[in-house]
């Protein structure tokens, strides 16, 4: 749990998203880097920190990317927390910037997936998944999160219609995002009548693996003052990795262990938030984040979803660019898409999907599926200056 005084995000960049792996992973990564650097008007020689996140970049790594780009660095981080990586990297970069270790950290995530390539990755994702789950025909992450959703529905009475509202809301937001891969409206009826993937998960509970990337720059406020940017302050951030270590099918994630502290240290409460960008590999994980981040008591997210307007013009705008569910999941870039969208909103650059008067937002990450669930969680509270 960290709070920051002087660490800010200067701006963001995002590559085009492609329905297939049109480019190599490294190309998405460096394209995200270039767009981000340009967006904040930085001279590349000012960048002295680099954080990268990508499943498919191997054997490229943070050092070889530095070489590819000609960057000389005092601080490097190669992510390993799946979709939680970018949020965690912001926290670590903010620490480095406040200590004076680095003045400007470029943080990028990208990947180049297709459905088949993603399944291939999941079969071999890590030894626990490869050796102890994949032999049973689990269907990738879909099988694992079907177990989570079924249990949440059984224990708490959560309904598919409520989870469907998440998918439907986010699709409506995606129609305002030219870069989102899904541009057709989705109704609750479409969601409910879609083909079953791994019950109770249907087609619209699942993301589309794709190609894309994004990035931000974390810097000291002093540097922001010299640049034509609207900095976004990093108010607070927290990470929890391996929450509930002996519970393979948990109905609660690591956010539950830090959320109260995150808000109290930030001296904010939930009503201060103008939007939330929650990690949405599945609607059930969005639902669990809403509970664990304290928007409602554990087990009552169904009622919360029924009562709260999650649209951009509503009570609690959710995943205002469509999220991964409607924009596409570009591998590890699924961990940066919400961060980029959060910064975009706080800088007033949301265009047709701008949340009116957005000044404070929460961004949340989740990732590295181990034996039955994602192992790593992290969240940030960001504010417009």
């Amino acid at each position: 749990m960290e709070t920051f005084e002087d660490a800010v995000i200067l701006g963001f960049g995002e590559t085009p998203y492609h329905k297939t792996d049109q480019w190599q992973p490294l190309r998405y990564l460096v394209d995200a880097a270039r767009r981000t650097i340009d967006a904040v008007s930085l001279d590349p020689r000012q960048i002295d920190g680099l954080a990268v996140s990508s499943f498919l970049m191997t054997p490229e790594n943070v050092c070889t990317v530095a070489e590819h780009l000609g960057l000389e660095l005092k601080w490097t981080m190669h992510g390993a927390q799946g979709g939680a990586t970018s949020v965690i990297q912001v926290i670590r970069a903010a620490e480095a910037v406040e200590r004076g270790t680095a003045q400007a950290v470029l943080l990028v995530a990208a990947d180049a997936f297709t459905v088949d390539r993603h399944m291939e990755m999941m079969n071999n994702f890590n030894p626990a998944v490869r050796d102890y789950i994949a032999p049973y025909g689990f269907g990738g992450a879909n099988g694992i999160f079907a177990l989570v959703q079924r249990r949440h529905m059984h224990v708490y009475g959560t309904k598919v219609e409520q989870l469907g509202k998440i998918a439907v809301t986010q699709r409506r937001h995606a129609l305002l995002n030219d870069n989102a891969l899904f541009q057709e409206p989705l109704s609750l009826e479409d969601y409910l009548s879609a083909r079953m993937i791994a019950d109770p998960l249907g087609l619209y509970d699942c993301v589309l693996p794709c190609g894309g990337g994004g990035g931000v720059v974390v810097a000291h406020r002093r540097l922001a003052e010299q640049l034509p940017v609207r900095p976004v302050s990093i108010v607070a951030g927290a990470e929890k990795t391996n929450h509930r270590p002996h519970d393979p099918v948990p109905l609660e994630g690591g956010w539950a262990s830090f959320s109260e502290n995150l808000f109290s240290q930030a001296i904010m409460d939930h009503s201060d938030l103008d939007f939330v960008q929650l990690y949405d590999d599945y609607p059930i994980m969005v639902a669990i984040q809403l509970e664990d981040l304290g928007f409602c008591p554990k087990g009552q997210v169904g009622k919360f979803i029924d009562e709260v307007d999650l649209y951009i013009e509503g009570d609690l705008p959710l995943n205002t660019g469509g999220g991964q569910l409607s924009a596409g999941q570009a591998g590890a870039a699924g961990g940066v898409i919400g961060l980029v969208e959060g910064v975009r909103q706080l800088q007033g650059l949301g265009g047709g999907r701008q949340v009116s008067g957005a000044r404070v937002g929460l961004v949340s990450g989740y990732g590295m599926v181990g034996y039955g669930h994602g192992l790593s969680t992290a969240s940030l509270i960001l504010a417009a200056e």
């Binding site: 999941m122 050796d131 689990f138 879909n142 059984h154 002996h246």
Partner: protein, 142 residues
């Protein structure tokens, strides 16, 4: 490789598990220090970090924590097994195992139902653990 099930890598760590499974037995590591049972196989106890782990016979009994029917398994081998009945089982000894349900009644999973371990011998040294629903009155009634 379409007809071959994706198999685990057998190492010095997990070989005893698969050897026992080939003989129709469930064994689990048990920490000799804190006495807890462990799955999936580890080098160190994930509860107390002891390295004194021994393989001991386990009951094979458990209850279903959750289940799903996978219509899009990730590997060609399962094309003839659709839907796969994937299940998370809490063993009597406490560890949770993710595996599949086999047997004619595998479509009748329910959270809380009892299951028992069953084994598929693939070689003298390698057996695969599955679960089947424990026999109930309604099974007898047919």
């Amino acid at each position: 490789m379409a007809n071959v099930r994706p198999l685990p890598r057998v190492t010095d760590l997990n070989a005893p598990f698969y050897r026992a499974a080939a003989e129709g037995r469930l064994v689990l590591q048990r920490c000799q220090d804190c006495q807890r049972w462990i799955y999936y196989p580890r080098y160190l106890c994930p509860f107390c970090l002891s390295d004194r782990l021994e393989w001991e016979p386990a009951s094979g009994e458990g209850t279903i924590l959750s289940f799903t029917h996978v219509y899009r398994p990730q590997h060609e081998f399962f094309a003839d097994h659709i839907p796969v009945a994937l299940v998370a089982v809490q063993l009597k000894e406490s560890p949770v195992v993710i595996a599949d349900l086999v047997g004619k009644n595998r479509g009748q999973a329910a959270i809380g139902r009892s299951v028992e371990a069953t084994f598929e011998k693939l070689s003298p040294d390698f057996g695969l653990l599955h679960f089947r629903l424990a026999y109930t009155e309604s099974d007898r009634a047919g």
